[in-house]
């Protein structure tokens, strides 16, 4: 906004059925603070028409047959922080508040993720509609932790014309927010996926540690520090620190395709 002026920035608030009300409140606080034009569009009807919720719920029912729309759900990562292969667990909560969880097999996992990825991709479609309409560029806001570790949906939130803070660790993004005087509700917000109906921190969904520690682990890995040095700083065992390093590398490998352009079978050198 400082780079372009408030009159040349357009904001979009795109809640859906599983969005936290606080996300919309923080979005409104931000556009009010910036003084930019914006639009609010509930994307739940679009997602429902595409079958996003139905595909997701069908996959959940293959694991918990009694699950219905009155229940809440999320998936949570496990394994990588303990030196094992990463896998996902499905967590559900019935209307009485009873929680159950079970390890996800490959097919329901893929279907749940594919269905929920509709959310990020529909949002991006709407962003590009407005960018085309206004002849604007789409700005993406991954931080370094998310960009490096592949914490984004290809052709969803991972798509943008420019990503101006991808080089900054998440800790630094929070520091910039405080420096710019953004509303405290934003500067103090706990990062979540805001994708599943049960509350879900980013670390629970994807990262091995809370972001303050993950930032340090990624910095240490990038600067070739040893697991012993990371362990001493984070007050964890050397073995655990090595698992975190291994997990960073595993996620880089597993998500490298998200960064790649489409493969051509023969070069087209003219473009």
């Amino acid at each position: 906004m400082q780079a372009l002026g408030a009159g040349k920035v357009f904001g979009l608030l795109l809640p859906e059925r599983d969005s936290s009300p606080e996300s919309l409140e923080r979005g409104r606080a931000l556009v009010d603070y910036l003084g930019i034009d914006h639009d609010v569009q509930d994307i739940a009807p679009t997602l429902a028409a595409l079958g996003c919720y139905r595909w997701r719920d069908d996959a959940i029912r293959s694991v918990f047959p009694h699950y219905d729309e009155t229940w809440r759900s999320k998936i949570a990562i496990a394994g990588g922080d303990k030196g094992r292969f990463n896998h996902f667990r499905l967590v559900v909560e019935d209307p009485q508040g009873r929680v159950a969880e079970q390890r996800l097999g490959l097919q329901p996992y893929l279907q749940i993720v594919a269905a929920t990825n509709y959310k990020q991709r529909i949002r991006k479609t709407i962003e590009y509609f407005h960018a085309d309409r206004l002849n604007y560029a789409v700005v993406g806001t991954p931080n370094r932790l998310e960009y490096d570790q592949g914490f984004f949906v290809k052709n969803g939130d991972g798509s943008a014309d420019v990503k101006p803070i991808a080089h900054l660790y998440k800790t630094q993004v929070y520091a910039l927010g405080r420096h710019l005087g953004l509303p405290s509700s934003i500067c103090q917000a706990v990062p979540t996926t805001d994708t599943y109906s049960l509350p879900q921190g980013q670390d629970e969904f994807y990262f091995a540690l809370p972001y303050q520690q993950m930032d340090l682990a990624l910095w240490a890995y990038n600067h070739h520090l040893t697991a012993a040095e990371l362990a001493e700083t984070l007050d964890i065992s050397v073995e655990q620190a090595q698992w975190v390093f291994d997990d960073i590398e595993a996620k880089r490998r597993a998500t490298s395709y998200l960064h790649q352009k489409a493969v051509l079978l023969s070069s087209v050198s003219e473009v």
């Binding site: 002849n135 420019v162 910095w219």
Partner: protein, 62 residues
């Protein structure tokens, strides 16, 4: 033996000059929009549509 033994790992390694970083991002974003995206064909994204309004919005020459 780590390659950065002179730096003790702590939250301090992530500290930065926020004002300088804001200036860097501001400059970089303007440059990206004025130059880099144009070089990637922004002006010809829609044949017959001029980049002029876009460039004007950024106060730079089309």
């Amino acid at each position: 033996m780590s390659a950065v033994t002179h730096v003790r790992l702590s939250a301090a390694v992530l500290e930065m000059d926020e004002a300088a970083e804001v200036a860097r991002i501001t400059t970089g974003l303007r440059e990206a929009l004025r130059s880099k995206l144009r070089r990637r064909g922004w002006s010809s994204r829609y044949p017959g549509v001029s980049i002029a309004p876009y460039a004007q919005a950024l106060r730079c020459r089309p």
